[in-house]
């Protein structure tokens, strides 16, 4: 299968003043996205997941590494040249309210990619816009309304329609449902899924929410402090996490069942997370201080041994087609992921 998007050893470094060490937001991240696939990039705030999206979209300069899109190297492509493939690479952002020009009727916003790429328009622009409103479950009459007249969920639908109207190959979704309520979130996830089935578009889905990612993604990439911790099939990673960080992440998600949650909580207390508050470092600070010689997660890892501080673990093959960046993962006690703990559903 040919890869649509191929990112190799991507690094993004932000300089932060004369005195302070530069912030290595993304370090040597490689990922690839095939046609019709959803790859989720998961991590907490400061993990660099949004920076990866920005680098691919050309919104932040790349320090080193290579981004290849449809066979072309786009790592340092200037804005003017982006025009050529701009229709193939689109984005949906977190805040639906700032994603659309507030003084434009939404129909005009949706049509903007078509106006920028008249060569991609097959038919009448107006018909395409009307059809895209139907696709996202809104009335075509809504096109003359302004963003202020819609709810957050509806606006996010419009933003999705805008991203998909030029029939792109890849859509980068940067936390597209984080600001939405649970019931609306489900609507949007279903919409993204339906549109993928219909058009074969690929998603790079950036999120901090593992339960959502488990549902929507085919593959997951877990980031911590700008580096890949674990990468592999979504089901495998969420049901049997192998990296201590992924284990901590999954164990920390509270599930809506008190019995199950009590058991998970005890497990969490006994095993995984180190008390972060006891160590003064938050994720950003770790990223700043870390020189790249050791494992970025060592400071918070309950299993850390000497080698973790001195040698950076490479990604190695683990169980079930998963690749794990940990010196010790083969020797760790297996931890319950989502699949075991959500079995209460069947008991019901």
């Amino acid at each position: 299968m040919t890869e649509l998007l191929d990112v190799t050893d991507l690094s993004v470094t932000y300089r932060s003043g004369f005195r302070r060490a530069p912030l290595r937001a993304v370090r040597d991240v490689s990922l690839s996205l095939a046609s019709g696939e959803t790859l989720a990039v998961v991590g907490e705030s400061g993990s660099g997941k949004s920076t990866i999206a920005q680098a691919i979209l050309g919104l932040t300069p790349v320090s080193s590494g290579k981004i290849v899109f449809q066979g072309d190297d786009i790592t340092h492509v200037r804005a003017a040249k982006r025009r050529q493939f701009g229709g193939d690479l689109q984005a949906v952002f977190q805040d639906p309210y700032s994603s659309l020009n507030p003084v434009w009727p939404v129909g005009r916003s949706i049509a903007e990619p078509l106006r920028a790429h008249p060569e991609r328009v097959s038919g009448v622009t107006g018909d395409l816009v009307a059809q895209s409103f139907i696709d996202i479950g809104l009335s075509p009459d809504a096109r003359s309304k302004y963003p202020g007249e819609f709810s957050g969920g509806q606006l996010q639908r419009v933003a999705i329609a805008r991203a998909l109207i030029s029939s792109p190959k890849v859509v980068i979704c940067d936390e597209p449902v984080s600001s939405l309520d649970v019931s609306v979130q489900a609507q949007i996830l279903n919409l993204l899924d339906d549109l993928q089935r219909a058009s074969g578009v690929s998603y790079l889905f950036i999120s901090h929410n593992l339960t959502i990612v488990r549902h929507i993604a085919h593959r997951i990439l877990v980031l911590y402090s700008g580096a890949v911790m674990e990468e592999g099939p979504a089901n495998e990673i969420t049901s049997q996490p192998q990296h201590p960080y992924t284990q901590a992440l999954i164990a920390s998600v509270p599930l809506p069942n008190p019995e199950v949650q009590r058991a998970r909580r005890l497990e969490l207390l006994q095993s995984v997370t180190a008390d972060v508050a006891a160590t003064p470092a938050d994720v950003l600070e770790v990223g700043r201080r870390s020189t790249g010689s050791g494992c970025p997660f060592a400071a918070r890892c309950p299993h850390a041994v000497d080698v973790c501080w001195t040698e950076r673990p490479a990604l190695r093959e683990g169980r079930g087609g998963v690749r794990v960046a940990c010196h010790l993962f083969e020797n760790l006690k297996p931890v319950r992921g989502f699949s075991d703990s959500y079995s209460f559903k069947k008991e019901k």
């Binding site: 804005a79 920028a116 339906d194 992440l249 909580r265």
Partner: protein, 657 residues
């Protein structure tokens, strides 16, 4: 004197032009609103009148500006000379009309220069940022510190008393005002995601500027330009007054004031026409600027104001009396209704018929989506509804004492000491100017004023240890920008604990935090509650958080309690269709390859609440009876209440499927 210093630019925030929820711009409607504005209309009318009259001076002026009539010197208003004559018998009206040309031309020249310079540099600096921004901002700062009058005097000397060159210079000197405004407005727009979307799509930078950026900065630009016009006119008249720019006997407004001053004793009237015209024109410019700003901000508030228009709201249902779960509840809320809005008549209820109990030491969760009245309910319990909001009905007994309707003094003694509050945004709850130690210390001192300095210090350390920050010296010395979000929330909890409260109200305390940090904060709240016997009311949208922390849960939907029960009942045998749907929409229950069961539509806003069930329009089990009458809260089981008479049966039906 420095011109620019005396002008404070009206920032885009002032009229909310950069806000994300701005409704559509309709230039025609905006113009109509300005014209219909009580001061804007007259201002425009006056400016139009003056401009047209001065432009047509040669046609309508009864005399030439320098035509001397020695038969009528210093005459005052007469039939021949409507506004009187000056010391040489020249007609004041004619001189005003001709002199106005100079003034208005000068204003236009200065404004064009200031506008073009300020706009171009401001937009580029705001949009491009980086080096251009740094350099141009420094230049502007230097320009603003140059005394304008000195420069103007030099220009008059250099360019042979040329009015035009002086006005161009004035334009350059006042352009920083426009620069700063446009730069700020551009900066605000630049961060919006739709610009990124356009850039990704391949829309050229020029197009982005023209289509997306320009319309958003027009508002602040025009407002400030109008105010600047008034200032420039004032300066221009001042220059003419001291005899610069226009050489007498050529007429000018400022020069006429100077002439009149010399004959103030003989003919006091002489100063009136020129003085009034200058004052009115300046006033008109400034008022016009203010009105444009008012109209633009009115546009911004359109959306938020919409909720307060409804007068007739459906009646409140009468619910089953909720029996206390414990014999002596700590807090007992009954029939709570909260309304927002200006007056009793036109207020909109946003919360109605809320009733629940909290036992001492119990952890209770309020769960629901945004706009369901969770936070309003919590704020009502703290007497913190703020402007426009008030409790219209209901009672709130805290240890048997009624809190609603009491004075601010009583609330003051309750807040912090009896009921404490932790908010969603830990970072904004802390004052960036004070260290952690002094912030907690201040609260300790407020609650226990008798403690000595060292005793306060000990108590602060004790609180820090209590919230899991054992390295008290290191943490205490830090300032809010030196701590992480999780640590900030711990410190906020420490502040809340300072008054040894019996109930802690936590409004989405973990929503802004990462999931691993959330787990720690939840554990912390649980531990503190166990150790101190403090009850906790936690507000959240995450059913997982409720399952983890709470013993009982209150599910709210569109301002009402939909269901109350033990967490176990709510999660495993939910009675209300909303609770069922909310649980089902959680992706953790999703089956591979199947669509998530979502709830169609969105939460009904308070102004549009129906007579019947608030959830009916989104409910899969809706029948006619749901729409006709208000639905009361009914007892399903012991201490399990539900606002749906069919809920329990539906719940069984689903279970069978």
């Amino acid at each position: 004197m420095s011109v620019s210093e005396s002008l404070s630019p009206i920032t885009p925030e002032d009229h909310g032009n950069a806000g994300p929820t701005r409704p559509p711009a309709s230039a025609r409607r905006t113009f109509r609103r300005i014209v219909l504005h009580p001061t804007g209309g007259p201002a425009i009318l006056w400016l139009l009148l003056v401009t047209i009259a001065c432009a047509c001076a040669s046609l309508i002026a009864p005399y030439t500006p320098n035509g001397e009539d020695f038969t009528a010197i210093l005459s005052g208003p007469t039939h021949a000379h409507l506004l009187g004559t000056d010391e040489l018998g020249r007609d004041i009206l004619s001189r005003l009309l001709y002199g106005g040309r100079v003034s208005l031309e000068g204003v236009v020249e200065a404004l064009v220069v200031a506008g073009v310079l300020g706009l171009c540099f401001g937009v580029i600096a705001g949009y491009r940022g980086k080096l251009f921004d740094t350099i141009s901002s420094r230049i502007v700062e230097i320009a603003m510190s140059i005394p304008a009058i000195v420069v103007l005097l030099m220009v008059f000397a250099l360019f042979n008393n040329s009015e035009t060159w002086a006005m161009v210079t004035l334009g350059i000197l006042t352009s920083p005002v426009i620069f700063r405004v446009t730069r700020a407005a551009t900066l605000a727009v630049r961060e919006d995601a739709y610009l990124a979307s356009a850039r990704i799509t391949g829309v050229s930078e020029l197009q982005i500027m023209r289509r997306h950026v320009a319309p958003r900065i027009v508002g602040p630009f025009v407002v400030n330009l109008s105010v600047l016009a008034g200032v420039v006119l004032g300066i221009q008249a001042g220059l003419n007054y001291i005899g610069l720019g226009v050489t007498p006997p050529a007429p000018s407004w400022g020069g006429m004031v100077a002439d009149a001053q010399g004959y103030l004793q003989e003919q006091p009237w002489l100063i009136v026409p020129s003085g009034v015209v200058i004052a009115l024109t300046i006033l008109a410019f400034v008022l016009l600027g203010d009105d444009i700003r008012d109209v633009l901000s009115l546009r911004t508030s359109d959306r938020s104001g919409r909720g307060f228009t409804s007068v007739d709201q459906p009646p409140i249902p009468t619910s089953t009396e909720i029996r206390s779960a414990s014999s002596t509840p700590l807090l007992s809320v009954r029939g709570l209704s909260v309304a927002f809005g200006p007056k009793r008549g036109s207020a909109t209820r946003v919360v109605q018929d809320v009733a629940f109990d909290i036992a001492p030491g119990e952890i209770v969760g309020i769960v629901g989506e945004s706009g369901c009245g969770k936070t309003v309910t919590a704020l009502a319990l703290l007497g913190l509804l703020g402007r426009g909001g008030r409790v219209v009905e209901g009672s709130c007994l805290f240890e048997g004492r009624e809190l609603f309707g009491t004075s601010e003094k009583v609330w003051h003694s309750v807040r912090g000491r009896e009921i404490a509050f932790v908010s969603q945004e830990p970072m904004t709850s802390l004052d960036p100017c004070f260290s952690v130690h002094s912030q907690i210390g201040e609260t300790v001192h407020r609650h226990e004023p008798t403690l000595s300095r060292s005793e306060v210090g000990e108590r602060v350390d004790e609180l820090l240890v209590q919230v899991g920050l054992s390295d008290t010296r290191d943490v205490g010395r830090r300032y809010p920008h030196q701590i992480s979000g999780g640590m900030a929330q711990r410190i906020c909890i420490a502040v809340a604990l300072a008054g040894r409260p019996k109930l802690l109200v936590a409004d989405e305390p973990t929503t802004a935090l990462d999931v691993t940090v959330q787990a720690e904060i939840l554990n912390l709240l649980r531990r503190i509650s166990e150790e101190t016997g403090m009850a906790v009311l936690i507000i959240t949208h995450d059913l997982g958080v409720v399952a983890d922390l709470c013993r009982r849960a209150i599910v709210m939907y569109a301002g009402e309690v939909a269901e109350i029960g033990s967490v176990n009942e709510i999660m495993t045998t939910p009675a209300h269709p909303y609770t069922q749907a909310l649980l089902a929409a959680n992706p953790i229950f999703a089956t591979d390859g199947e669509a998530l069961p979502s709830i169609p539509g969105t939460v009904t806003p308070p102004a549009e609440w129906p007579v019947g069930c608030h959830f009916a329009d989104r409910c899969a089990f809706q029948i006619e009876a749901c729409l006709t009458a208000p639905i009361p809260l009914l007892e399903v089981d012991t201490n399990h209440y539900c606002r749906c008479p069919y809920g329990p049966r539906i719940s069984i039906e689903i279970g069978r499927r």
